[in-house]
Symmetry: C2
Subunit: 129 residues, 2 copies
Amino acid sequence: MVVALDRLTSYREGTDLEGLSQILRILADSNRLRILRLLTRQEMCVCDVMDHLGLGQSLVSHHLGMLKRAGLVQDRREAQWVYYSVVSEKLDELRQALGFLLDTDALPPLARYGAGIRCAPIPEDRGVA
Amino acid sequence: MVVALDRLTSYREGTDLEGLSQILRILADSNRLRILRLLTRQEMCVCDVMDHLGLGQSLVSHHLGMLKRAGLVQDRREAQWVYYSVVSEKLDELRQALGFLLDTDALPPLARYGAGIRCAPIPEDRGVA
DNA sequence: CTATAATATCAACCGTTGTTGATATATAGA
DNA sequence: TCTATATATCAACAACGGTTGATATTATAG
């Protein structure tokens, strides 16, 4: 799955919750989080990740592939080894998008909604939201 | 699945990536993100969420249940209606934990790791990491 | 050229989950 | 009590994903 992280910067417009959920799905695995945290500290080849986390080669390669396709990490070949490192810009973008999503005060209260006005349709938020 | 959000505050100690991944799994669905964003702006009953997002009753109830079990939202009964609202403190905690996870400079580089010292085991990061 | 190490990919299994439709429960009103 | 509305739960299905083991690919060394 290729995720367009760029579109997350337009999250303030409120359109790309689908793209954000796809990236969150990438993060929603403890092994991938462990890998990501490791790469945050240090560029590392696959066998290093295996050793540090005690995971199988196939599994690590699989997870790294997902992280790479999501644009969260990048790789670089050197002799037999493939070194993976974090894409800081993408992590910053993602942090910003998530910070906005989880900010209670980020969006104004819904218009035309109050006590006794239940189930009032708000066209802008229907469907594509 | 009951997720202990409190443990996320101890994320700086680096132990609970499992708990964080569980919460991320809750967020990793576009419909749940839409619901969460809606509730961020306004406390709302189930039928309102249905109408705003154009989703079926069973589906909305299901997603709200997941968000509630994760501690992200709370509910309040009033007559026939059950009103759901966001738990701001939990969102703040989560935002903080994610901000730390995605912060490239949050953790110092690994000790005993450098050019030519590949695959050197670092006990503190093995296994439970 | 062969052997070996590092990495990627493929196949298969199985648990999880998003979705839908049907049913159960609860509350209000007549 | 009967009906209607709101919500939760259950059953079932399909799709997705994490894991493992086997195989393929790439690069180095001898």
